[in-house]
């Protein structure tokens, strides 16, 4: 998801012009949108693709004999193929469309966990996981009598491969971990972790929600069994996400939900199920969402990624430098390999007060536990303020962030 090659420069004003919302103001201030890890803004090509579908192409997919239904089915299939290509999946059928990362993880916890976990089996997570990659495992572990083990996070915000290896055992059935931390930004060595876990006979699920917005990934190179991500964090629409899974593994798992589209034959003496991807897509799917996601993926594909990466890392470094200069600011996480987000606190100012003060300057950040309460407990804080940068953010916006934090400090002095 990052390439260390010589970067050309990015034309930021052209890039920003593609995002209609970036032109608006918040009160008297220009919008400084630094909450990208929560959701990204959408380029016009994504908004237009969804609008065009509803204006011209809308119909339900599958089984329709009329023109629009056949066309909508083709568009939906094409979106699946585009996503498969973007993440390096071998086949389009390895892409299951879901609502988002949370549903993808719930699907795996239910279908894989529900069929493969026995009492005493182990699930390996890390301390930096989002609640979405903790709670579904707790629920299935409680049902199956399985045990959750947790890889610690080092002071830098990194996962140590030795720690990871030492917690894998003969009963570990699955290891599930973030590609990039939503609270600290740390990029985990997911290919190494996958290799080590698979050497121990464990399946691997990667939560890629925070990785995709910062560059293409390659699931074949990582060699994981499952990879989950959300459309809305990668410049696509909300309500659509992806579970990538190895086709042979997905076909061997029981369906997650029952309904239309996922069946082969239904009778009251028994029902047989289709293969992937339909096996896991019960009911009318989010067709317009898939089409919007395809537009996002196609938009992402044409970017100059070395330039984007260099730009995002420059914003992160600038933010670290400017915030570290402010007395009372504490930064969290200093892993050498990070996506462009920064967690921090200002001494004597609760993150929510900081968030409100920054908002009054048009600076949108997130404040709180970021759905990572175990990690916050480990850090010994109730929460943090988090500024998360996307490819369209500018050095001037980072300066506005730092100026607003200084203002908060004066207000609370």
């Amino acid at each position: 998801m990052h390439t260390a090659t010589q970067a050309s420069t990015l034309d930021l004003s052209d890039l920003r012009a593609e995002f209609p919302i970036l032109q608006r103001s918040i009160g008297r201030h220009p919008l400084t949108y630094l909450d990208n890890a929560a959701t990204s803004q959408k380029p016009a090509v994504v908004i237009d693709a969804i609008s065009r579908f509803f204006r011209q192409d809308n119909a339900n997919i599958h089984r329709g004999v009329h023109y629009l239904s056949v066309q909508a089915t083709d568009l939906y299939d094409r979106a699946r193929a585009a996503v498969a290509g973007f993440i390096g999946a071998r086949e389009a059928r390895e892409i299951v469309f879901v609502r988002g990362t949370t549903e993808a993880i719930n699907l795996v916890a239910r279908s894989f966990g529900g069929s493969r976990l026995a009492a005493g089996d182990e699930i390996l997570l890390t301390l930096m996981e989002h609640h979405a990659n903790i709670v579904p495992w707790q629920q299935i572990a409680a049902e199956r009598g399985a045990i959750i083990r947790v890889v610690p996070v080092r002071d830098t915000g990194e996962i140590d491969l030795g720690d990871f290896r030492s917690l894998l055992g003969p009963r570990t059935r699955i290891a599930a971990f973030a590609h990039a931390s939503n609270a600290l930004g740390s990029i985990n060595p997911v290919a190494d972790m996958t290799r080590i876990a698979r050497e121990h006979g464990a399946a691997v699920l990667i939560d890629g929600a925070q990785a995709l917005p910062h560059g293409p990934i390659d699931v074949a190179a990582i060699d994981c069994d499952f990879y989950a991500f959300s459309g809305h964090k990668m410049f696509g629409p909300d309500g659509i996400g992806v579970l990538y899974g190895r086709a042979d593994l997905l076909n061997a798992l029981p369906p997650y939900q029952g309904g239309g589209d996922m069946i082969e034959r239904v009778s009251f003496s028994g029902t047989t199920f289709r293969e992937v991807p339909e096996r896991f897509e019960a009911g009318t799917p989010h067709i317009s969402g898939a089409i919007g996601l395809e537009a996002a993926v196609n938009w992402l594909r044409q970017l100059d990624w070395p330039a984007v990466h260099a730009h995002e890392q420059a914003l992160l470094e600038q933010a670290e430098t400017l915030l570290a200069e402010i007395p009372g600011v504490r930064l969290y996480g200093c892993a050498p390999d990070r996506v462009s987000l920064l967690s921090f606190n200002l001494e004597g100012v609760h993150p929510h007060d900081l968030g409100t003060i920054l908002d009054s300057e048009g600076v949108a950040i997130r404040a709180g536990h970021h759905c990572t309460q175990p990690l916050m407990q480990h850090l010994g804080v109730p929460g943090t303020a988090r500024a998360s940068f996307a490819l369209y953010n500018t050095p001037e916006e980072v300066e506005r962030l730092a100026a607003a934090v200084r203002r908060a400090r004066r207000l609370f002095a």
């Binding site: 100012v349 929510h352 007060d353 404040a367 536990h369 109730p382 207000l411």
Partner: protein
Amino acid sequence: MDDALEELYQAIILQHHRSPKNEGVLDPYTHFAEGFNPLCGDRLTVYTREEGQVLSAVRFVAEGCAISRASASIMTTRTVGLPLATVQERIRDVLTLLTGKEEIAIDLDTLGELAALAGVRRFPARIKCATLAWHALRNALNSDCEPVRT
């Protein structure tokens, strides 16, 4: 800095945040209740001592933002020593003040420092910070020791 923000973080609020009144566990107490805001993770516990039909002492322990701490601090100063029925009325009035949709006349003589909390109405995301302590006090008076959620 805009006017609404200055109204929210006015000197009274910041003063109560920095040097809260009646912070800490009450010993002995007769009732307590815990307030919890699952959205932000803030926790606040209110301890009360009821003697006859009077709230003779009230203290709080808070892990939270300036708004929730200041609200709790002001609450303790504005309810201690009052008959329980009056405390219930005051809780109701303050919750109406903080959550009311319409502009209402604020009577400074009656409300005193409570009026400072009214600035929160212009920050919908923060109203629950200000109401947390009051919900917890109401639950403490009702001897309901289940955590309240705002």
